[in-house]
């Protein structure tokens, strides 16, 4: 895992002191809210419905136990005993007082954490595959590249005031577990025919008001030109992005309006110039960063056998464990989606349990997933039962990864000042309706995603089933979407028709899934059946 050097630490420490001074001036009345707001946002501090909300960066979703314990400590000391893991692999605290914010940042800095790049029109915290460094199907660990990107983009003077926020995701496998093509820039690490490492670059994806899947801009970018090419991508955007209209200011609109081919041509032209500026670091600098991500000292020769005689444990293993690249090890995902719970929320006590398990059983590493769960990336198969028992005791052993109750839900109208409708109670109702595990498993992989407004933090366009909360004359209303995917088979969901109230949308989902069960062929997921039979049979089932 990356460790701060003196530069990282001094940058973060200096930022804390700047913010302390800014908060003091705001509290004394020396600064107006108009003057202060951009400064607090640059430090991840939003004003939400009930209080200030602090968004903490978790670069590419990677945490160690010390950091998670610090999050638990902050939850207890400054918040109300819990935190919320987000679809951006970050963590949010919902009940922060302005006067405490500088102290919280100072405490975070002691464990190499901060809130930089969690707000504003800058390059945001880079996201990645939660299984990075462990996945059996990756060609390399994508995190050194994500870290290089973090160092390049943090406080990048040219890109601090972009037309809009800018999100980059990087993965290294054909299976996309990071919704890579729904980002402003999506990078897939690949090898060319000669075996050289490089990148496929996708630009112009995004969700929100105008969802788009990023088109391929470059088939193969040699690894040594990573930063200069991204610099060129950003420069073209910075020059031509629509600063005149906030709804058209994301790069996806630029790429869409001029066309992917023309955008790519302009990037190549810009790149020809940028390449001459010496922006690409020497590979020795990359190697220096990569050394922090050397695989842990896995034991050799371990058995792959797991004693599955406990049926409840077996259900968890079947659902929440995926293949690790090292024989004898497994990747275990801790579901933060107990039926009836709040998706992505973890109490301080649960954070501490997860931290202890990571320390004891997973080489001190945890990952936040964009689906709002936590992964222990390197668990010995022989230790899985002990891990599961500890999780069970802490209410963290729900065996529902990628099933219908593993719902992504944004905070919605229970917390968010931009919301039109509540997301969480709806997620709870759906999970309760489909609670029996055998029913969920019969329905198979089903990604259900809920957003409380068009900003789409809950990725509703990318849900096999998506739900969007809207405001209909002052009451909550929900639109249903079918057929989206944020994975390697990315697609955007289609709105089924008129919206529903809360109970109505749960019924509509049940009718949709009854139809799926009636027409599916063996081995088909809901999404596969939907793609095979099309939209109409489901619409008919929903509206009659």
């Amino acid at each position: 895992m990356y460790r701060y050097d003196q530069f990282d630490q001094s940058i973060v420490d200096a930022r804390v002191e700047d913010f302390r001074d800014q908060v003091a001036r705001r509290l004394s009345g020396a600064m107006s809210e108009d003057q202060f707001k951009p400064l607090r946002l640059m430090n991840g501090l939003y004003l939400q419905l009930h209080a200030y909300m602090l968004r903490i960066a978790v670069p590419y979703g990677t945490l160690n136990s010390r950091q998670v314990r610090m999050l638990a400590h902050i939850a207890r000391k400054y918040d109300r005993g819990y935190g919320h893991f987000t679809t951006r692999q970050n963590l949010q605290f919902n009940w922060i007082e302005l006067k405490d914010a500088p102290d919280i940042l100072a405490e975070l800095a002691t464990v190499e954490m901060h809130t930089i790049q969690t707000s504003g029109n800058c390059i945001r915290n880079t996201t990645s595959d939660q299984y990075a460094g462990a996945a059996a199907d990756e060609i390399t660990d994508p995190r050194p590249w994500a870290e290089l990107l973090r160092q390049w983009s943090s406080f990048h003077p040219e890109f601090t005031y972009l037309p809009r926020k800018f999100k980059v995701a990087i993965i290294a496998s054909d299976e996309d577990r990071a919704a890579m093509r729904l980002h402003d820039i999506g990078v897939q690490i690949v090898r060319n025919e000669a075996g050289a490492l490089g990148f496929k670059v996708f630009v112009g994806g995004g969700i929100g008001r105008t969802p788009m899947i990023a088109p391929l801009i470059r088939e193969f970018l040699p690894a040594e030109h990573f930063l200069s090419y991204l610099e060129a991508c950003l420069r073209v955007y910075n020059r031509y992005g629509r600063r005149d209209n906030i709804y058209k200011a994301r790069i996806k609109i630029l790429v869409h309006e001029i066309g992917a081919e023309e955008y790519a041509r302009q990037v190549e032209e810009e790149w020809a110039h940028v390449k001459t500026l010496g922006l690409d670091p020497p590979m020795s600098e990359f190697d220096r960063i990569a050394a922090y991500f050397t695989p842990p000292a896995w034991e050799e020769g371990l058995s792959d056998d797991i004693d599955l005689s406990d049926p409840e444990f077996k259900a968890w293993v079947d659902q929440n464990i995926v293949a690790h690249k090292q024989p004898g090890y497994a990747i275990a995902t801790i579901s933060l989606k107990p039926v009836g719970g709040i998706p992505g929320d973890a109490s301080a006590e649960q954070m501490e349990v997860m931290a202890s398990l990571a320390e004891r059983y997973s080489f001190d590493e945890l990952r936040v997933t964009h689906a709002q769960n936590i992964t222990l990336p390197h668990v010995k198969k022989a230790d899985l039962y002990a891990v599961w028992q500890a999780l069970k005791e802490a209410g963290l052993a729900t065996a529902n990864l990628d099933l219908i109750s593993d719902i992504i839900a944004c905070p919605g109208l229970d917390y968010c000042s931009l919301a039109n409708a509540r997301s969480i109670p709806l997620a709870q109702k759906i999970a309760e309706r489909f609670a029996p595990l055998d029913r969920q498993r019969d329905l198979g992989e089903l990604k259900l995603k809920i957003s409380g407004c068009i900003n789409a933090c809950g990725h509703h366009h990318a849900g096999h089933i998506g739900i969007l909360g809207v405001d209909r004359k002052g009451t909550e209303n929900y639109q249903l979407l079918l057929g989206g995917s944020g994975a390697e088979d990315a697609s955007l969901g289609r709105i089924t028709g008129p919206g529903f109230d809360e109970d109505g949308v749960v019924d509509a989902i049940e009718r949709t899934l009854d139809k799926y069960r009636a027409v599916r062929e063996p081995g088909e997921r809901f999404l596969d059946t939907y793609r095979r039979v099309g939209f109409e049979p489901f619409k008919e089932a929903i509206y009659g």
Partner: protein, 98 residues
């Protein structure tokens, strides 16, 4: 009726104008009538409250009830964490908010 609301500057708590100052209890919110804009301008300038605004509400037996669900949730707290509401686990909250 029209009432004024915002968030307390140092804590972020939801507050309501009670005629003399800012209270955390919507039940004590005062009718601001036609003076809302002037009140907001004055209070914003005094820098005690963040992002104040005027909303519609109806007067009920239990005091003013905001017209929009968003402000009713602000008044009480998250509907999914009743333990963290301004009046924790109040059985009357459900029908008041929704």
């Amino acid at each position: 009726m029209k009432i004024a609301t915002g968030n307390d500057l140092p804590t972020g708590d939801v507050v309501w104008w009670d005629g003399e100052g800012w209270t955390r209890h919507v039940e004590d919110a005062a009718e601001v009538g036609e003076n809302g804009a002037a009140l907001i301008a004055r209070e914003e300038a005094s820098r005690r409250v963040n992002a104040p605004y005027i909303i519609d509400a109806e007067m009920t037996e239990r005091g003013p009830r905001p017209a929009h669900i968003k402000d009713r949730i602000r008044a009480r707290g998250p509907t999914v964490r009743l333990d963290l509401n301004r009046v924790p686990i109040d059985p009357a909250t459900g029908s008041w908010v929704i």
